[in-house]
C-alpha cells in the first residue's frame, strides 16, 4: 500500500516564512533603531494588520460579512478601562480578560444576529455596535458620552519610565499581531481550516459534504470577537483616552479594515498584510487631503472589488503561485 502525506509548504512559502521570521526579529528590535514616532506608527500598523486579518477570517472565509466589528473593538477597550481604572486590575493582564469577557458577550449576540441572513446580517451587526456605543455613553462611571482617561497610577503600573512604557506596549502590540497571525495559520491548517476554505469556495457544497456550517460560523464569530476585543483593548491602552465615538467608530475600525482587506486580497491570509501596507503608504502621502483621502480610498476599494475582486495578493498568487505562509495542501505519495 502506498504511503501518502499532506504537504503544506512549497518553495515560495519557505522563502516567505523565512522573510516573515527575519522581519519579526528586526521589528522586535525596533526600540533600538526606531524613534518614538516610528514606534507609534508601527504599533498602529500592527493593530490594522490584526483587525484586517480577523475580519478576513470572518468575511473572507466564513462568509460572515460584518460591518459592526467596531462593537468588539469598543467593548474590549471599555472593558479594559473598567477593569484597570475601576477594579484596579493590572492593565496588561486586563487585555486578555477583556477579550474573554467580550467573547462571552458575543455568544448571545451571535445567537441573535445569526437569525438575519446574508445582507441583513451585515446591517444587524451595525445595529449591535450602535447599541454598545449608546450603552457606553450611558455608563457614567467611565465618563458617559464624553469619555474618560486612564488614571496616572494605572499608566505608571505598566512601567515607571515613559520610555520603558512605550517599549513594553510596542512589544505587546507586536506579540499580539504575531499571535493572531499564527493562530489564523494554525486554524487554516487544521481540519477547521479545510472546512472554512470549503465554505469560502461553496457553502452549499461544504454543507453537502457533511460540514456543520452553522456551528463553524458560530465558533469563528466568537473567536474573531475575542481577537478583535483584544486588539481594541490594546489600541486604547496606548491612547490612554477613550470615548464612545472613538471606541465604536465605524470609519476607523470597520471601513478602513474592510478597504484594507479588499484592496490587499480577501480570502487570503497575505491580503490584509499587503492591504495595510498600501493603506499606510496612501495615508502618509495623502494625509493633507482630509476628507478627499477617504473618498479616494472608497473609489479604490470599489474599483478593486469590480475589476480585481481577489485584490492585489490574489493577482500575484494567481500569476506566480506564491504563498507566504505554508497553507496549501498537496498530496505526496511515497515515504519522506
Amino acid at each position: 500500500m502506498a504511503e501518502f502525506r499532506v504537504e503544506h509548504s512549497n518553495w515560495s512559502s519557505r522563502i516567505g516564512t523565512a522573510i516573515v521570521l527575519v522581519a519579526l526579529v528586526a521589528l522586535a528590535a525596533a526600540p533600538w533603531w526606531a524613534d518614538r514616532a516610528d514606534l507609534r506608527l508601527l504599533s498602529e500598523i500592527y493593530a490594522y494588520v490584526a483587525l484586517a486579518s480577523l475580519w478576513n477570517v470572518l468575511a473572507g472565509y466564513a462568509g460572515l460579512v460584518s460591518v459592526g466589528q467596531q462593537a468588539y473593538v469598543g467593548l474590549g477597550a471599555y472593558l479594559l478601562f473598567g477593569l484597570a481604572s475601576l477594579a484596579g486590575v493590572n492593565p496588561l493582564a486586563a487585555i486578555p480578560i477583556s477579550a474573554a469577557a467580550a467573547a462571552i458577550v458575543s455568544v448571545p449576540v451571535a445567537a441573535l444576529m445569526f437569525r438575519l441572513r446574508g445582507h441583513y446580517f451585515a446591517i444587524g451587526t451595525w445595529v449591535m455596535a450602535e447599541v454598545f456605543r449608546l450603552l457606553a455613553a450611558q455608563t457614567s462611571a467611565l465618563g458617559g458620552g464624553s469619555g474618560t482617561s486612564l488614571p496616572v497610577s494605572v499608566v505608571l503600573s505598566i512601567a515607571s519610565s515613559r520610555q520603558m512604557r512605550e517599549f513594553v506596549l510596542y512589544w505587546v502590540a507586536l506579540a499580539q499581531v504575531a499571535v493572531i497571525l499564527l493562530g489564523i495559520v494554525w486554524l487554516l491548517r487544521s481540519r477547521y481550516g479545510l472546512a472554512l476554505t470549503a465554505i469560502r469556495d461553496n457553502e452549499l457544497g461544504a454543507r453537502s459534504n457533511g460540514i456543520n456550517v452553522a456551528r463553524i460560523k458560530f465558533v469563528v464569530y466568537v473567536a474573531v470577537a475575542f481577537g478583535t476585543a483584544m486588539v481594541g483593548a490594546l489600541i486604547f491602552l496606548q491612547k490612554i483616552r477613550i470615548s464612545p465615538d472613538t471606541a465604536f467608530s465605524v470609519n476607523d475600525w470597520t471601513a478602513f479594515v474592510i478597504f484594507i482587506t479588499v484592496i490587499g486580497g480577501i480570502g487570503r491570509i497575505e491580503g490584509p498584510i499587503i492591504g495595510t501596507v498600501v493603506f499606510f503608504v496612501l495615508r502618509q502621502t495623502l494625509a493633507d487631503l482630509g476628507a478627499i483621502y477617504l473618498l479616494i480610498l472608497g473609489v479604490v476599494a470599489i474599483a478593486v472589488m469590480l475589476k480585481a475582486p481577489k485584490g492585489i495578493w490574489g493577482l500575484i498568487a494567481d500569476r506566480f503561485g506564491w504563498q507566504v505562509f505554508p497553507l496549501e495542501r498537496r498530496l505526496v505519495i511515497g515515504k519522506r
Partner: protein, 320 residues
C-alpha cells in the same frame, strides 16, 4: 392599527417604571396621561418618516436582493440637493420636491446601470462592499462640499403650525403631512407592484431573473428603474428629514439603521409591514426620550432586538 397593540404595551410597561412623582393628585395624573398620549402620537407620526426610509430599502431588496448600505447617505444627499435647490431658486422645501425627486431618480438609474448591476450575483460580498464604499464616498464628498456644520431647511409658518385634538392633545401639521405622505408612498408602491406593467416586470425579475429575461424584459433596465423609484422615495424622505431637524453629512448611517429596523420588524416583502415597523421604532424612540434623553435611540434599537429575538421573521412576513 396592529402597531398600536405592542406600542401601548410598551407604554404601559414604561409607565410602570416611571417614578411616581405625581401620585395621588388626580389632576396632575390626568395631565401626565395626556403627556404620554402626546408622546405616543408623536412617535406614530415619526414612524411615518421611518417607514419612508424603509420603503425604498425594502423595494430594491424585493426586486434584486440588494441591500444598499449607502441608503442613509443617499437620504442625506437628497436633503443637500433640496438645500441647494431652495437656496438658489428661492423656493420652499415642499416645492423643491419637483426638482429633488427627478434628480435623485436620475442618480439612482445611473448608479444602478453604471455600478450596482455589476455587483449582482450569488456572491454577497460585492454589493455590500460597493455600497459600503459608496456610503463613505457620499459622506466625505458632502463633508468636502458643505462642511460638517449642521443645517436645516426652513419651511416657514407650517413648521410650527399645529392642530389641537382637544383634551390637551395636539399634533404638528408637518408631522401629519409627513405621515400622510408615507401612507401615500406605500399605497402607491403597493398599487404599482400589483396593478401596473412595471410592477409585473418588478415581480417577474424578482421571482426569476433568467426567465424574465427570456420573456423579453431587460433586467438591467428593470433593476435601474427599481433603483430610480427607490431614490425617488429617498428624495421625499430626505426633504422631510431636512425640514424636520438639523442635518449634517454624518447622519446617514443612523437613517439606514432606522429604515432597516422597520423593514425587519415589519417582515421582509411586506410594504404595510414596514409602516408598522416604522411606527414601532418611532414610538419606542419617543417613549425612550421621554423617560431619559439618553434612551431615545437606544429604546428604538432595543425594540428591534426584542422583535428579532421573539419573532425573527417579522410581524407580517411575506417572503421566506
Amino acid at each position: 392599527m396592529a402597531g398600536l397593540v405592542p406600542a401601548i404595551h410598551v407604554f404601559l410597561v414604561a409607565k410602570a417604571w416611571m417614578p411616581a412623582t405625581s401620585a395621588g393628585m388626580t389632576n396632575e395624573r390626568l395631565r401626565s396621561d395626556v403627556e404620554w398620549l402626546n408622546t405616543i402620537l408623536q412617535g406614530i407620526l415619526l414612524g411615518g418618516l421611518y417607514a419612508m426610509f424603509a420603503a425604498g430599502l425594502s423595494l430594491i431588496f424585493g426586486v434584486m436582493r440588494l441591500v444598499n448600505i449607502a441608503h442613509g447617505d443617499l437620504i442625506v444627499l437628497a436633503a443637500y440637493v433640496a438645500l441647494v435647490a431652495t437656496e438658489t431658486l428661492g423656493i420652499g422645501p415642499l416645492t423643491s420636491l419637483l426638482i429633488v425627486v427627478p434628480v435623485m431618480a436620475a442618480i439612482g438609474y445611473a448608479l444602478q446601470r453604471a455600478l450596482l448591476n455589476r455587483t449582482l450575483g450569488d456572491d454577497l460580498l460585492p454589493p455590500l462592499l460597493v455600497t459600503f464604499g459608496l456610503s463613505v464616498i457620499i459622506q466625505n464628498g458632502l463633508l468636502e462640499l458643505f462642511t460638517a456644520d449642521s443645517v436645516k431647511l426652513n419651511a416657514g409658518a407650517v413648521e410650527t403650525a399645529s392642530v389641537s385634538l382637544g383634551g390637551g392633545l395636539a399634533v404638528g401639521v408637518l408631522p401629519v403631512i409627513q405621515f400622510v405622505l408615507a401612507i401615500a408612498v406605500i399605497w402607491g408602491l403597493q398599487w404599482l407592484f400589483y396593478r401596473t406593467a412595471l410592477g409585473r416586470a418588478f415581480r417577474a425579475t424578482s421571482d426569476d431573473p433568467a426567465v424574465a429575461q427570456l420573456m423579453g424584459l431587460n433586467n438591467a433596465h428593470v433593476f435601474a428603474l427599481a433603483m430610480a423609484l427607490s431614490l425617488a422615495i429617498v428624495a421625499v424622505a430626505g426633504v422631510l428629514l431636512a425640514v424636520r431637524a438639523n442635518f449634517d453629512p454624518s447622519i446617514g448611517p443612523a437613517r439606514l439603521i432606522f429604515g432597516f429596523e422597520a423593514v425587519i420588524i415589519g417582515g421582509l416583502g411586506s410594504m404595510w409591514g414596514t409602516l408598522v415597523g416604522g411606527i414601532i421604532i418611532g414610538v419606542a424612540q419617543t417613549i425612550g426620550a421621554q423617560l431619559d434623553p439618553g434612551w431615545n435611540l437606544l429604546a428604538g434599537h432595543i425594540a428591534f432586538l426584542i422583535v428579532l429575538a421573539i419573532r425573527p421573521q417579522g410581524l407580517f412576513p411575506k417572503v421566506n
